[in-house]
Symmetry: C2
Subunit: 283 residues, 2 copies
């Protein structure tokens, strides 16, 4: 079932609550790939009802970014999401989410939103937290599912939920990758053949840093340099950032002692890709 | 019943939802007077359960304001609220509401928060919207009750709820006044005898402007000047602002054609009092 208005979805959710059904929620910008579908499947396993939202949120794009050209295919998305276990697809218009004159923002301040993608995309996370807050109010889910690929987004949203005492559990699911290790992303379709081949360097570099850490290297400087050197071997790769921070706080560290994240953003032509790995002691 | 932790209150609310009881909510900073109690009574009339929160919210006070000295009396408050119909008093600590490292803000931008009290108290409404958002997430009320005395607060919160699609109805209740017309306020206890007497000028001025409007005067300039002249007759009165805006948008207007608000903030000694009247066509 596809629902386009918040009033209709709220009526549906009210009924579900009265029947005491648990609700799993997967917010997406559509153009679904196996990464998204792994979230839908996980949601289906853990809840009685699954809502998938498809909304390309204008406020999380910067003025020079790809909002207009972001890939959209609602028919295919609906089919794929239903096949993976979605009960409801919520596909609102921009005006449905942002009522005329809307001027309320939900913002997480501090390191967690100012480093990594927050440094390159200063208004991005404000857009994300605002729209996800709205969606949580409409869907009232028990659990909401996000991909580890957007590790910073997951950390920011977890903090929003904690700080505002929202009644939802954020579940973070593993990155889904192609055979050569490239993380699935709706933006991968922008890549030409050469760019796509070279993009495999991101995951390779992250695997190398994992190995180096497991072999005893703890210096953030040394580990970061290892990634940079590796990525720079690819002639089409242009680094936006390569950083290692404590996770999920994203505080600056000099040595990897506790849980940390190595995160990269790299442009191939006009396409900016992100990837990351959580550095933990070997189990 | 007094509850101090959000976890305990959330359990109570969860039960109430399962029993399909409607919840009315009255958020306060305590030191309850008849104005607050009128909200509790209204909530009791319209809901099966009434929650009253008592929390002096630090983030809505400016650095030079009266957070430390704001009057507190939780024993008397509890008794009065229960007598007026409250089922639960929620009285959390600051750390309970603002978890350590909390850095998430909910902010309504635009004229609605930048004029009137927003001009004199630039971080005030950000504190109000953030804490009320938190409280709504904890209490999950069907309806929440606010006094018309804080007309701008009511307008800002109504906008927050609309913009973020929150599932609560904001109910705004009439100002409760003393015999001489002074609006009830927890801060009235700061006034000495002379200041208290002269404070009656606020309501008198607002009544005069109402009469002038009903007699045909529509110019915001003329109506504003009428209030200013009147208040300035009191030697202890020091005007912070006197303004007339469209209500509830708080947009600037030159003439009162549609619903408008005449709002004043005046200091008597160190005590800042606010009052207002909604200008509407005579019924």
């Amino acid at each position: 079932m596809v629902i386009n208005t918040k009033d209709e979805l709220k009526r549906f959710i009210k009924n579900a609550h009265e029947e005491q059904k648990t609700i799993g929620f997967v917010p997406t910008m559509g153009f679904l790939h196996k990464g998204h579908l792994s979230l839908v499947k996980k949601a289906k396993e853990e809840n009685q009802l699954v809502v998938v939202s498809i909304f390309v949120n204008p406020t999380q794009f910067g003025p020079t970014e790809d909002f207009e050209t972001y890939p959209r295919d609602i028919q295919t998305d609906t089919r794929l999401a239903m096949e993976a276990g979605a009960d409801v697809i919520f596909n609102p218009s921009t005006e449905e989410m942002y009522v005329p004159g809307s001027s309320t923002w939900v913002e997480v301040e501090g390191d967690i939103t100012s480093v990594l993608c927050g440094a390159s995309r200063p208004t991005h996370f404000r857009g994300v937290t605002t729209v996800v807050n709205m969606l949580f109010n409409i869907v009232e889910p028990d659990k909401a599912y996000f991909g580890q690929k957007d590790a910073q987004q997951a950390a920011v949203l977890t903090k929003m939920v904690q700080d505002l005492h929202m009644n939802v559990e954020i579940v973070v699911c593993p990155i889904v990758r192609e055979a050569d290790g490239v993380a699935l992303s709706s933006r991968n379709i922008y890549l030409n053949k050469e760019e796509r081949e070279q993009a495999a360097v991101l995951n390779r570099s992250l695997q190398l840093v994992q190995e180096a850490y497991w072999k005893g290297e703890k210096s953030v400087e040394v580990l970061t340099e290892l990634i940079v050197k590796n990525i720079n071997q690819m002639p089409l790769a242009e680094i936006d950032y390569v950083n290692i921070y404590a996770y999920p706080s994203l505080k600056t560290i000099a040595k990897v002692e506790e849980k940390a994240i190595a995160a990269v953003a790299v442009k191939f032509g006009k396409t900016r890709l992100i990837d990351n790995i959580i550095l933990e002691k070997r189990k």
